[in-house]
């Protein structure tokens, strides 16, 4: 007999049988088998994850998904979640997996930061009638332009490889494999239409997507999946992935059942085997080795594209960032601990790293102290949920923000945290053909475009209100932020004044 204890259900759909027209759309919609048709009625089975696909599908609004009572006696220390996880581990002996970003409220600092606006001493700007610029560059900057002995500017000697974007937004790295072909197609098309960047993720680049390569940033992760000279040379920039905010210090693991023909072709690995990304890059055991990988990528792309490095925000992030810039990175991405993932050990996802707000400010300050900040583009990601988060993150020090989860939500994702199970009912984080076909590329593209367009308009509104007419004048402009949270020490570390403090 197996030592299995059933864990109480967490969610339960309720069917209004009066309203229900027995169309069975909900049953088809549920990829977790939580609904069944019995005795001429829709009945509730086990396994509901609150993805709410059934709610959206139901033509008569006959379904409500409820969170069930915790089923455990209240206890201030052993929360129901802790008890559930312990029971589950006693069942399986396994490392608990989860997905999406860290699920712990106390880590949010964006909500404790307020923005400034112009009153009297300088004019606010109406972005609908006067220009407010959001064009953003990604790549290494030369620090100064080269002037020859005759006092003329030498352009050839001054220019460096640079990527131009119309918004300070990059859709983060989400690999084909962690999401479906349709989902990645929609992200890439949206990036192309918006003229921003999208990351390929570590799974290589499908042949169909090469025409959009000018808006793509190719990731080189420790697994080197699909990394060929062609891949490196076609895209507009190359990103070395050292770490991910959701799982700092951890590798990647795409289970074999997801490695079907499409994934196998793109990653260039055998069908059905696990796609494992080693925890470290095995050619990088130290900072000078990172310099080696940066250099070989620059050699291989003939110095035509910027080469960046992406790390998870960890405690010593400032010093690490400065080392990375000194090692030759043209841009640097810091991924905070609330960043998303298609699959990560829960223990790492919820307990390792640091919030992006603190990390981006720490890195910006450190690079400034070392005189490096005007040489490098700083990207920040890790739960940039809304335009407000984006604006605060830029003011804390980021040139560009990376966004993933919000783009997925635009496509349909409801953040039910089941990506690692590969049964995404919205056709996003799955490779099952009957599910992936649910995601219409055209519609998803348009929805992502709409959302980021709105963000950019909101960015302009805020910039205008601050009396700033171009986004670069907001980057690291912490003067324009104030802290209103519970812990003034955080304000100090962020280098942001407390609300109520004036200019001087």
């Amino acid at each position: 007999m197996k030592p299995i204890v059933t864990i109480p259900e967490k969610y339960r759909p309720t069917i209004d049988h009066e309203a229900c027209i027995r169309c069975k759309k909900c049953i088809k919609a549920c990829s977790y088998g939580a609904l069944e048709f019995k005795d001429d009625k829709v009945k509730v089975a086990k396994g509901c994850v609150a993805c709410v696909r059934c709610v959206f599908e139901c033509p008569t609004d006959a379904i409500i998904v409820n969170e069930l009572p915790k089923q455990f006696a209240p206890h201030a220390v052993f929360s129901p979640e802790i008890r559930r996880s312990l029971i589950s581990q006693a069942n399986s002996g396994g490392v608990l997996l989860s997905s999406c970003g860290a699920n712990a409220e106390y880590m949010d600092i964006f909500n404790d930061i307020l923005l400034d606006a112009a009153q009297v001493t300088n004019p606010s700007i109406d972005p609908l009638r006067e220009p407010v610029e959001t064009k953003t560059y990604l790549g290494r900057r030369p620090g100064k332009v080269v002037v020859d002995d005759n006092g003329k500017i030498d352009l050839d000697a001054s220019e460096t490889p640079i990527v131009i974007m119309d918004m300070p937004i990059m859709i983060g790295h989400i690999s084909l494999g962690s999401i479906s072909y349709n989902a990645q197609a929609a992200l890439f098309r949206a990036a192309t239409q918006l003229n921003i960047l999208a990351g390929t993720g570590e799974g290589g680049l499908h042949n169909d997507f090469y025409p959009m390569a000018k808006n793509l940033c190719a990731e080189v992760a420790s697994g080197r999946f699909g990394v060929t000279s062609h891949y490196l040379k076609e895209v507009s920039c190359v990103d070395i992935k050292i770490g991910q905010g959701a799982k700092p210090g951890h590798g990647g693991h795409l289970p074999g059942e997801k490695v079907q023909k499409l994934i196998s072709e793109t990653r260039m690995i055998p069908l059905g085997t696990d796609a494992l990304s080693p925890y470290p890059h095995h050619d990088i055991y130290s900072i000078e080795d990172l310099q080696q990988l940066i250099s070989v990528l620059k050699e291989s792309t003939e110095y035509k594209v910027p080469v960046g490095v992406k790390i998870a925000a960890v405690h010593n992030v400032g010093a690490i960032a400065s080392g990375i810039v000194r090692a030759g990175a043209d841009f640097l991405t810091i991924d905070g601990l609330r960043g998303g993932t298609g699959s990560a050990p829960r223990v790492i996802r919820d307990h390792a790293g640091m919030p992006i707000e603190i990390a981006v400010s720490a890195v910006d300050q450190r690079l400034e102290q070392e005189g490096l900040r005007d040489k490098v583009t700083l990207c920040a990601s890790g739960s940039i949920r809304t335009a407000a988060d984006m604006i605060k993150c830029i003011a804390l020090g980021a040139d560009v923000v990376g966004v993933c989860t919000s783009a997925m939500i635009a496509m349909g994702c409801t953040v039910c945290q089941q990506c690692h199970r590969g049964a995404c009912s919205w056709g996003i984080a799955t490779q099952k053909p009957e599910l992936t076909s649910r995601l219409d590329i055209e519609i998803a593209t348009q929805r992502i475009v709409n959302m980021f367009h709105a963000w950019n308009e909101e960015l302009k509104e805020i910039l205008g209100a601050m009396g700033i007419d171009s986004v670069e004048s907001l980057v690291g402009n912490r003067d324009r932020l104030r802290y209103i949270g519970p812990n003034p020490r955080i304000a100090e570390i962020l280098d942001v004044k407390h609300s109520g403090e004036g200019w001087g």
């Binding site: 112009a118 009297v120 001493t121 300088n122 004019p123 700007i125 006067e130 220009p131 610029e133 064009k135 560059y137 900057r141 030369p142 620090g143 100064k144 332009v145 002037v147 006092g151 003329k152 500017i153 352009l155 001054s158 220019e159 640079i162 300050q365 400034e368 102290q369 005189g371 900040r373 005007d374 601050m466 009396g467 700033i468 007419d469 171009s470 670069e472 004048s473 907001l474 980057v475 690291g476 402009n477 912490r478 003067d479 324009r480 280098d495 004044k497 403090e501 004036g502 200019w503 001087g504």
Partner: protein, 408 residues
């Protein structure tokens, strides 16, 4: 406190300039009310043939615009002032006390040869609020070849910048207000006419004058934070508020300047020194970086100019002065006046030239020019486009030309 305008924590905080604000020359300034911004008046005049202009002329210009000030700061800078000491750096100081002066002189003795020093005559006005600073001027030469000099590893000018920064940062009650050759800054807390009388500006003659009167909106003014703000032979009079100050300060601090004067205008001065003197950028390119064209307009430029425009925006995005401003910038060798307004033209700036073509003026308002040169022909520069006038050369740019004439 004041961390905004001071150094990152590791670079140690200045105590010096604070003293002026807190203790001596302004009544009751709470810590949280350090001056920062101003809506002010600016005026400048220059004689192309290098002939000398009496200080009473600039005094008349600036006081004509009395509606623009509120008595919390004013200042003047004159070029071509010391023909007998044109090769020495003239370091002009405001001292809070004799101790501060002694400490400063002790430091100076290690860094520079003292060629001459003199008390700057001052005439406190009854309407002004005491106490008043000691004003002293030293003509100096760097002690080249000494251990101090060699250890810095700097060239002569950067060495002088380091010296000024180090005094302003570390000696309480001592502020070096100008440090260039053949020029000096006269400034303080008060109305323009009070400051003019305090220094008896009419006793000086120079081939170029710039002036500023202040209307600091958020807080009272103080002596060292008045304009012009100067380093080496650069001086800047600034009208406006820089909404990108936090960004601009980064660039100059990374380059080794210390922002100790607690005013956003300070970064403008250091940016000019950094970009034109140290990076050797043409003035037009520097002005473009500070007040760049919109990207959609850059698209219309011819190939090379478009490349340059984009490169300047990429490379010097921290030098972009966002928000409303008009500035007058002076420097010597040859004596040059640069007038520049922001790219949205949110602050006023007019230019004028006398009928004989020899005297050129810049001011916030036309009345300032007409008060001293009734026959002046008046024109306006374009937003973000610098007018440049040089002694011996004339009006090099009217501020209405192509952006990069001669830069590439």
């Amino acid at each position: 406190m004041d961390r905004d305008y001071l150094q990152p924590a590791t670079l140690s905080c200045p105590q010096a300039s604070r003293v002026f604000a807190e203790q001596s020359y302004v009544v009751e300034i709470p810590d949280c009310h350090k001056p920062r911004m101003g809506s002010c008046g600016i005026a400048g005049c220059i004689n192309i043939d290098g002939s000398l202009i009496s200080g009473s002329k600039i005094e008349k210009m600036i006081t004509t615009m009395s509606e623009r000030e509120n008595g919390l700061g004013s200042g003047f800078v004159a070029y071509g002032l010391f023909p007998d000491f044109a090769e020495e750096y003239c370091m002009q100081f405001l001292f809070e006390s004799e101790e501060a002066q002694a400490e400063t002189e002790e430091l100076l003795s290690h860094w520079v040869y003292m060629i001459k020093d003199e008390k700057v005559p001052t005439f406190p006005q009854r309407s002004m609020t005491p106490p008043f600073p000691l004003v002293w001027r030293y003509f100096v030469r760097p002690k080249k070849g000494t251990e101090v000099y060699i250890r810095t590893g700097l060239n002569e000018e950067d060495y002088m910048v380091r010296l000024v920064m180090s005094i302003n940062e570390t000696i309480p009650g001592s502020c070096c207000v100008s440090s260039g050759k053949d020029m000096a800054v006269f400034k303080g807390s008060g109305y323009a006419r009070e400051i003019a009388k305090f220094y008896d500006i009419s006793r000086y003659k120079g081939n170029m004058w710039l002036s500023h009167s202040r209307f600091p909106t958020n807080s009272p003014g103080w002596w060292a934070g008045s304009h012009p703000i100067s380093i080496l032979d650069w001086s800047v009079c600034h009208n406006g508020e820089i909404t990108s100050y936090g960004v601009n300060r980064k660039l100059v601090e990374m380059a080794g300047y210390k922002c100790t004067l607690l005013t956003d205008s300070e970064v403008v001065t250091y940016l000019w020194d950094l970009m034109v003197r140290r990076h050797r950028l043409p003035v037009t390119a520097t002005a473009f970086a500070m007040a760049p064209w919109y990207y959609k307009d850059i698209e219309r430029l011819p190939d090379n100019e478009r490349r340059l425009a984009n490169q300047l925006r990429i490379t010097y995005k921290e030098a972009f002065l966002n928000g409303p401003f008009s500035i007058l910038v002076g420097r010597s060798d040859p004596v040059t006046m640069i007038a520049l307004a922001d790219r949205k033209k949110l602050r006023p700036l007019v230019m004028g030239v006398s009928a004989d073509g020899n005297s050129v003026y810049a001011a916030s308002e036309e009345c300032a020019i007409k008060s001293v040169q009734p026959d002046a022909e008046i024109w306006a520069t374009r937003a973000g486009n610098p007018a440049i006038v040089k002694v011996g050369e004339g009006i090099v740019r009217r501020g209405t030309e192509d952006p990069f004439l001669g830069a590439i």
